[in-house]
Amino acid sequence: MKLIVLALIVLNSQISLANTAEVCPEPAGQFIPIEFPKGPSRGRSYINGVAQPQPIVEMEPQYIRVHPSGNYVIASLDNGTAVVIDISDKNLPKLIKTPLKNEAAPLEPSWDLISSPYDKKGMEYYSFKDLISDEEKKEPTPKSKFSDYRHNQYYQSLSEYPDSKPDNRRFRVVLFTTLISRDYEVRPLPDKSKVLVNKGKLEYLCENVNKNFFTPILSKDGKEMGVTLTDDVDSFQSAETVIVKIGQNGSCDITDKIGTGTSKLAFTYPEQGKKGLVAFTSKQNAENGDDKDVVQIYDRDKKTSYNISAPWQETTVGYPGFTQSGDLIYVAKRNGTNGLVYVKKDELKPKTSTFPFPEDAYARCFKKDAKKNQGYESNPAPKTDAAY
């Protein structure tokens, strides 16, 4: 009997050792510190009716869009402008000034054109090549290829049709409010500064569903769309992220329900025989604090989600996007430093642990003072080679 008790004690201590031996896991991916441009902040503050000097602040990234190569990211900044970040050398990211406005969004999947809403002539369309080839210049000189005054809103999404080609780009642009869509055909002209544009009629998507949808994001192949379904009469929830398949006549069929409200979705590039992944940000209570934003993946084939970002080490995260090879890039702030996190495809896996809840593996590391442990010890930010 004593032997059995002794054996149980030894076994128990080994299990405890196995648990305590588990180190605090490092967050997935490579953190790329980015020194965003500094400048006088927008607007003015007043004290007793007197306008105060505008402080010089670092422009924080608000949204990003990820190039299929993973070498570029368009970041909309909180001063209402957008920059291209060249991260082809992750140790020396370069900022390229552009004429793009807040919420600039690319034509997926080619990135031949970049749309910029509420520009001088409405929604303006720039050539991505023009934007990055002008990087040596101090001023944003590229001119837009064409514009559309009427079909013009923030939160736009653009995706090409399967028969789209470099000499005839055929695509759809969906806008935020009531999912108004317009088709475009864009052909380059011999004078390369100009294009021939054929604009289609404005039409509503998903009229057959008869529900309130918003925040549309088209899939890379344009056949699907991630949307927020709000106040569905059949649902007890008032906001749930769903994926719809778009029919030929603009009708929609709900195919995936994420089960909860999230940020806008980012789709992976199509892969034969798989529905693929979507990435998003949503809120959850984390071990080092309540109500944190966390970057998550939803596996559409397995119908389950899992955390990617490390809520115990990143103070803010957001706006994940996939590269063509399946890597993921998102915005993060670690130890007060803004940057991007680049996660390779093979790292996009659910965290595993000997603990039933993987987050408990690192929970022990942050017991004393949740607030002090929010930071992450990263290498000092290298000087950014900015075009400013």
């Binding site: 607007g43 924080e60 918003f214 994420i258 089960g259 966390v294 998550q296 389950t304 803010t316």
Partner: protein, 252 residues
């Protein structure tokens, strides 16, 4: 007598099941009795699923029966390992059950407690929300962010809608926003700079969506469980507000 006791216990069981009708039932949880005992300390209602935090782990959030106290329940798919977060402005309690139903608990300081002690900012807490609910018969709580352009552009539409329809309008700022960005936004879009920053468990825990604006409707000291998310034409907004009011009316 035994028959009456049986009826009472079955009724109690049905009531408890009914409380979990929003997609969460504790049936088949080996530690159901102990979990219910813990949950019943503050009560529980209106669970909503949040995205699975890890493969094979489900999570739900819901309010307790006490204002300012919320629950988040996580469990493995086999329901043998369970974790309950109980959150209020002061603290963050974590209770765990292992497969043998052994219960362990720990407490942490809520980030909100630190925030509320930071007097450089003007915070909107659960106390402020309670005051507003008691003071005003009906109102609209509008949570906006300088990082979401529509929440600034449409601020006036929500404000004017509130005024026109007899709702008090309470604007609240995203807790992550910098003071400078908020002032810039107010200046650019011509609205008051007086929004307080979000530090209310009741408002923060109500949705897992990161989108802004989030709009809550309150009436007769009750506030809508779920937000009206995003911006919309005034007609749609009016319909959604009416829907929220009808749900609140049913809760009387």
């Amino acid at each position: 007598m035994r028959f009456i006791l049986k009826i009472v216990s079955v009724t109690a069981l049905l009531c408890s099941l009914n409380i979990f009708a929003d997609d969460l039932s504790l049936d088949n949880f080996p530690c159901k009795k102990s979990i219910l005992e813990e949950l019943n300390k503050f009560g529980f209602q209106n669970w909503r699923p949040i995205a699975d935090p890890s493969m094979g782990v489900k999570a739900y959030r819901g309010p307790s029966n006490q204002f300012g106290v919320w629950n988040e329940l996580r469990f493995t798919e086999d329901k043998k390992n369970v974790k309950l977060y109980r959150i209020n402005t002061e603290k963050f309690e974590i209770t765990r059950w292992d497969p043998s139903c052994k219960k362990t608990s720990e407490e942490k300081v809520s980030i909100l407690k630190d925030n509320l002690q930071d007097k450089k900012e003007n915070w909107f807490s659960d106390k402020d929300l309670m005051k507003a609910l008691k003071k005003h018969k009906k109102g609209i709580v509008y949570i906006w962010s300088p990082s979401m352009v529509y929440s600034m552009r449409e601020y006036h539409i929500f404000k004017n809608f509130s005024k026109k329809n007899g709702f008090v309008f309470i604007p609240i700022l995203d807790e992550k926003a910098s003071k400078q960005n908020a002032m810039n936004a107010a200046d650019q879009y011509k609205f008051d700079q007086g929004s307080r920053k979000l530090a209310s468990v009741e408002l923060m825990q109500r949705t897992s969506s990161t989108h802004f604006p989030k709009t809550y409707v309150f009436s007769n000291q009750k506030i809508s469980r779920d937000p009206i998310l995003g911006v919309m034409p005034e007609k749609t907004m009016s319909e959604l507000v009416q829907k929220k009011l009808a749900i609140l009316e049913q809760q009387k």
